[in-house]
């Protein structure tokens, strides 16, 4: 009875109210006759712009369900900064979270506003998304896209502390201070491990691996990656000049970095430097126990290629001797690059490991003069030559024969010798014109700016070159920017007519407007407007328009057997010349920078090893 009295009082008309629903439109829609498009942010199926996609595989890495696999696409062009692969998505696994879209380094991945995909065949649930999506239709409405809020990459680089331009021009002190631990770990956390940089690096350094070591704060492991590379794979990717390259490498890797597509590339070079600067000494961490081999290899020239070859050969157990004409080992690293970019200590750190491996370096011994190549051939089982580009080129315009018109390389050598107390003070002009738009010209200009500042308190250096803009100039943009900050003035787009000489003193340079540097076939063929002139005052002119090799140490009969192309030696992929026992590398084979030299050293070492092993049999 109680229960009944608690029953609700219901409106008398309540049942009638129900009738109103008869006349209402149904809430359902008639699928498939009515098509409903999903909302603007809907995470439907994937579309991938194949032209934008670089195959970095970051989508596959973030995928929480392991639904994305990178599959090789054979006929995609093999270009730097890309991998010939594209993501393939398994909709049996996909959770439609769109993390792949949010982390995509190029923004090529997006999702559509489609709801439905039906098929009785399980094979229809795996596909490689293209611009046309899973159903192959043009102009599919796009749903979820990445925006600033959903961004999963960190696009901004951790800033590097540097001395200000006005401060750094006062001395030759290294002005890039290097990352602190926190900064390095932070910067390392930006890497997505796509290894596109590894492909790009001439030496194929294991960049993602050592960056990950930094991120894990395991610098010993990082140093192993730097100096030993892939230990189980012939040490590929090792670089004995990590301290040098951590400072002055041309960092092609950073140009290829996938983060660079939408943001600032990971500071690979500086991360490398962070490792070497923050380990006590290599010898404590790195040890080699090579099996001694009863063979000797001679190396001519102690530049990057020569010493790298020595390093790799020594790790294989060969007895290596290096012959260097100048008083200190290092070649361009010692005598070319100014110390504000590469201090001697960094170079010494690298070279000391090579010496610790038992490599003998004979300095002040010029092959061709003090000892003949033929003699080396007799005393050693193989010879590797890496003598570099030591001769300067001249514009040969009237007046260049004057004693105050000098070549860049000897001047840089003189400056470095002077700074380390090993030579007289070079002539410091009150006003200088540098002809040339490459990094060597920048080195001369910035070194001289420092000397002028130290000597006279003011900077008066002008750089002129044929290239008409900073972008066209072969020098690194940061060199130009930093030079400007240090007071160097730039006059791009001018070609020299003559050196103005009055009373046997250099007064300046007469220049004419350069209209075009390269012709339609992209060959060096400058065109000038002879009427448009510019006069730059100077009491010294430095020519830095390129260098050339000096093959005078090669005996004629050897020279005859060798093959040259455009002044460079032709070798096979193992840097073996047409003379079996003679290997070559560095600028005289490839150029143009240190890391290419290191790569030459690596491949030559493998080639020499191969040659000597086979010879034995």
């Amino acid at each position: 009875m109680n229960k009944k009295s608690s029953l609700p009082e219901k409106d008398f008309f309540a049942p009638i109210k129900a009738w109103k629903f008869l006349f209402k439109k149904p809430v359902t829609i008639k699928v498939p006759y009515v098509k409903r498009e999903a909302s603007e942010r809907y995470r439907g199926f994937h579309i991938n712009d194949w032209d934008k996609c670089i195959g970095c595989g970051t989508c596959a890495k973030i995928c929480p369900t392991d639904a994305i696999k990178m599959v090789e696409v054979e006929d995609l062009p093999q270009v730097y900064g890309e991998k010939p692969q594209r993501p393939v998505i398994d909709y049996g696994r996909c959770s439609f979270c769109a993390m792949c879209v949010d982390i995509c380094t190029t923004g090529s991945l997006k999702m559509t506003r489609e709801y439905v995909h039906i098929s009785p065949d399980p094979e229809d649930f795996i596909f490689a998304p293209t611009e046309k999506g899973i159903h192959g239709v043009d102009n599919i409405p796009v749903g979820w896209t990445r925006d600033d809020d959903s961004e999963l990459l960190e696009l901004e680089r951790v800033g590097m502390e540097m001395l200000e331009g006005e401060e750094r021009v006062k001395s030759f002190m290294e002005y890039v201070k290097g990352y602190s631990k926190e900064q390095a770990i932070h910067e390392a956390a930006r890497c997505v491990e796509c290894a596109i940089c590894t492909d790009r690096c001439p030496e194929h350094m294991r960049i993602p691996e050592y960056i990950k070591s930094i991120w894990k704060d395991d610098l010993n492991e990082g140093l192993n990656w730097l100096l030993k590379g892939d230990e189980n794979n012939n040490m590929i990717g090792a670089n004995p000049f990590s301290a040098v390259c951590g400072r002055v490498c041309t960092h092609r890797c950073e140009e290829a970095c996938s983060i660079g597509n939408r943001g600032e590339a990971v500071a690979i070079r500086w991360l490398k430097r962070y490792i070497v600067d923050n380990v006590p000494s290599y010898e404590e961490i790195i040890n080699f126990t090579p099996q001694k081999k009863d063979k000797k290899v001679a190396i001519v020239g102690s530049g990057p290629a020569g010493l790298s070859a020595a390093y790799f050969l020594a790790t294989m157990g060969y007895e290596v001797e290096v012959f260097e004409a100048l008083n200190k080992p290092g070649g361009v690293m010692r005598y070319g690059i100014p110390s504000y970019r590469l201090p001697d200590e960094a170079l010494d750190k690298d070279i000391s490991l090579i010496q610790a491996l038992g490599v003998k370096i004979h300095v002040g011994v010029s092959v061709g003069k003090d000892i003949s190549l033929q003699k080396l051939k007799e005393q050693f089982d193989a010879v590797f030559v890496s003598t570099g580009f030591t001769l300067g080129r001249s514009t040969n315009v009237p007046g260049t024969e004057h004693q105050d018109v000098i070549q860049a390389l000897p001047l840089l050598r003189e400056i470095r010798d002077f700074l380390r107390g090993g030579g007289p003070k070079p002539k410091i002009p009150k006003s200088l014109v540098v002809i040339g738009g490459g990094n060597v010209a920048m080195d001369v200009a910035r070194s001289m700016a420092r000397l002028q500042k130290m000597e006279y308190g003011t900077v008066d250096v002008k750089v002129t070159c044929l290239e008409r803009s900073f972008e066209e100039m072969p020098a690194d943009m940061e060199e130009i920017e930093e030079g400007t900050e240090e007071g160097v003035e730039f006059y791009p787009g001018w070609g020299p007519v003559r050196i103005m000489i009055d009373d046997d003193k250099v007064k300046g340079v007469e220049l004419k407007k350069c209209l075009e540097v390269f012709d339609e076939n992209n060959r060096f063929n400058p065109k000038f407007n002879e009427k448009e002139k510019l006069y730059l005052d100077a009491d010294m002119v430095v020519e830095a328009i390129g260098q050339a090799p000096d093959y005078s140490y090669l005996p004629e009969e050897i020279k005859e057997q060798l093959e040259f192309a455009r002044g460079r030696l032709v070798t096979n992929e193992f840097r073996q010349t047409s003379i079996k026992w003679l290997f070559a590398g560095g600028d005289i084979v490839h150029g143009p920078d240190i890391i290419h030299g290191v790569a030459d050293g690596y491949w030559a070492a493998r080639g020499i090893d191969d040659y000597l092993t086979k010879e034995e049999k």
């Binding site: 194949w50 594209r86 393939v88 398994d90 399980p122 596909f127 998304p129």
Partner: protein, 176 residues
């Protein structure tokens, strides 16, 4: 820490000498205690308003060779939470039951036995709860590898279609 909670912590310090206190936020405090004091501390907290057992769980600290047993106690009066934790030997994974304090602990303990292999004295119901015919390590132990396990147990499915060819046809690079 709320004043009412610091009051309790002060009292607890007289009860247990070796007491580690981690203040997680204003209303959440973790107290780490030696295992023999666990029942004392739990009943003290239960008697002082922290009567709701939010969760009873364990953490496998394999490198330390310990299991950490965690009780989260919540007070409906002031919203404070005490995370009571104690560590036991991983090799002799045995602990006391708290089912006389909280009936639901019987099931939490059963779960911990199933997933970590921890025995609870005083709880005689240690039958498996979630898993059927389980034949490997207790799965929430850190040394259990689920990927290996499923590779062993379940077949993989391979797709046979040439997806790249299909994509090229869709793109119009190739004629299908």
């Amino acid at each position: 820490m709320m004043s009412s909670m610091s009051e309790i912590v002060k009292n607890l310090k007289t009860l247990v000498k070796k007491l580690e206190i981690v203040e997680i936020d204003e209303r959440e405090v973790k107290i780490e205690i030696p295992c023999e004091k666990t029942l004392n501390v739990l009943s003290f907290l239960k008697g002082n308003g922290y009567s709701h057992l939010s969760i009873l769980t364990a953490v496998d600290w394999i490198e330390e060779n310990k299991f950490e047993i965690v009780y989260v106690l919540f007070s409906w009066e002031n919203g404070g939470k005490f995370v009571v934790s104690t560590k036991i030997d991983r090799k002799k994974a045995k602990f006391v039951s708290v089912m006389h304090l909280w009936p639901i602990a019987r099931f939490y303990e059963r779960e911990l036995h199933e997933f970590f292999g921890i025995q609870f004295e005083g709880n005689d119901d240690m039958r498996p709860l979630f898993l059927e015919n389980w034949d490997s390590l207790p799965p929430l132990r850190k040394d259990f590898d689920p990927l290996e396990y499923s590779k062993e147990k379940f077949p993989d499915r391979e797709y046979i279609k040439d997806v790249i060819y299909e994509a090229k046809v869709i793109r119009g690079d190739l004629n299908g």
